[in-house]
Amino acid sequence: MKRAARLVVFYAGLLGLWTLLAHLKIWPPYLFPTPWGVGEALYAGFQDHSFLIAITVSMRRVLIGYAISVVLGMVLGLGVGSSKFLEETMGGLLVSLQSLPSICWWPLALLWFGLSQNAILFVVIMGSLLSVTLAMEDGRKQMPKIYGMAGRNLGASGFRLFWHVLLPASLPFIVSGLKQGWAFAWRSLITAEMLYLSLGLGQVLMMGRDLNDMSAVIAVMILIIAIGYVIDGVVFKTMERRLQNKWGLSPAS
């Protein structure tokens, strides 16, 4: 209750400051909109369905891209985590590639895939693949060896050993990497969408700029933050909590 009160006071203060600054008219209203203006833009965007369409398109892209990253990243990470040779050769490359912002792949993606959905997907995958791979590699190493041995001892091998033992055993160690991969995927997607007429949230944001409509720009920014926050706070938090309960790592118990 106290926490909620503090939060209300904080956000009310923030909104008040914003309103105050807007009303002081230091900058013209089209450059610095009021909270009400942004609220209206949000309302209008949902009224004419443009936001809903943009959200649907963006979510579809990010889910496809992220899913591909997770599958590829797990296979790659497991390989690098299990093989000394791959670790020595590819391990360093993967770490150094991670310092490259995924949008740097955009020119190549355009040449390879043309102005298409696939170019965007490629950038999204390059954004999150490395996080997932490195997390999986790390998880494979941190995972106690006993689980793999116990699995083999009980007759699991090959894919079934991976699916029934190695993957679940490493989940607590890779869940933060999966979360980070998601964050990278989401950012890469919005960046790529801003560069290309694509129907997604990124494009709606750029449209606001083209029309000098800062209310719309900020409205879309709020949407992007909200979606990222909801996925992080609902999907990943639930996953973490369930893992902690199962493994007995939960601080509450």
């Binding site: 001892n153 007759g155 079934r160 679940p168 199962k246």
Partner: protein, 316 residues
């Protein structure tokens, strides 16, 4: 704890040549009829035969270390063999070799006359750290081996129920392993191993981390389950009394490299009690030999000139 056991007139078991398997007595003559007939049973072919097992590996400093040296052991079907030795004698490693999780440098392991080449569900190892899967419930853990073997769901459920009842954990089927006590987890591991229906059960110091009461209870249960299911058990422990309490025969390994120093048949009627004077008496015999090895291991581990003494009569 100390005893005056050596003053009592007890027949001390004599060591046997470990290459010629001797008949061991279970005390109760009728027990053999309780045993489930085991596939591949034969008077000539031992259930498990280790011949000339050597294992060496390279340490981080690059020198070769001989861990196991020329191990020869034979275990009959339905026999309960205990292996004792100081820590670092390679007794756990020996179980891993039989389980097929590691490969020996030379020599061969035969189970029912067939060469061991990798893990198989005819030999299930219960690890010292158990290796229960924390992401699965107790029931799912027990079911795991059967699932991997492709046993259908109905049969799996039935057997899971059966083996959980056998270890008295029926009402914990849906719990996660971290919710259980150490002794209960131990029993889950036992049920999980048994549910895979192995002919040979390999146990690696399974009760070392338990309190005395729980351990006594599990000794009784293990003995009962062994009699009920007729499995062959190879049980590794550093506790000589535990070995006498449970085993038909006790094999003593030397410290680094591990060799079979002597084998002792245990001719005491079952059920035995850990505190029984006869058990203590039999343990003393082995302990005298073991003490030498423990002293050697302590010398190496502490790497000092002063010889640490192991006080006589002290054993867990």
């Amino acid at each position: 704890m100390s005893t005056n056991a050596h003053n009592l007139p007890v027949q001390i078991p004599l060591p046997v040549d470990h290459l010629s398997p001797t008949r061991s007595s279970r005390g109760k003559a009728g027990l053999a009829t309780v045993l489930r007939p085991i596939r591949g049973i034969s008077a000539e072919v031992p259930k498990v035969a280790l011949s000339d097992i050597c294992l060496s590996y390279r340490t981080q400093s690059g020198e070769r270390l001989l861990a196991l040296d020329n191990i020869n052991l034979q275990v009959k079907a339905g026999e309960f063999l205990c292996i004792v030795g100081p820590s670092g004698c390679g007794k756990s490693t020996l179980l891993h070799l039989i389980a097929g999780l590691h490969q020996q440098t030379s020599g061969q392991i035969l189970v029912d006359g067939k060469r061991v080449q990798g893990p198989g569900t005819d030999r299930i190892l219960i690890f010292q750290e158990l290796g229960l899967f924390p992401w699965l419930t107790v029931g799912q853990n027990v079911e795991f081996g059967m699932k991997m073997k492709g046993v259908d769901r109905a049969e799996r459920e039935e057997k899971t129920r059966y083996y959980l009842r056998l270890v008295h954990l029926s009402q914990f089927k849906d719990s996660y392993t971290h919710q259980l006590s150490g002794g209960m987890r131990q029993r889950v591991a036992l049920a999980r191993a048994l549910a895979t229906e192995p002919d040979v059960l390999l146990m690696d110091e399974p009760f070392a981390a338990l309190d005395a009461q729980t351990r006594d209870l599990l000794h009784d249960e293990l003995e009962r389950i062994w009699a009920e299911t007729g499995r062959t058990i190879i049980f590794v422990t550093h506790n000589v009394r535990e070995a006498i309490r449970l085993g038909d025969r006790v094999a003593l390994l030397t410290f680094r490299p591990g060799r079979v120093k002597r084998e002792f048949p245990v001719n005491l009627p079952r059920p035995r009690v850990l505190e029984d004077v006869h058990v203590a008496q039999a343990a003393r015999e082995i302990l005298d030999e073991l003490r030498e090895e423990i002293n050697r291991s302590l010398e190496v581990e502490y790497n000092v000139g002063v010889k640490p003494r192991v006080p006589t009569g002290v054993e867990e």
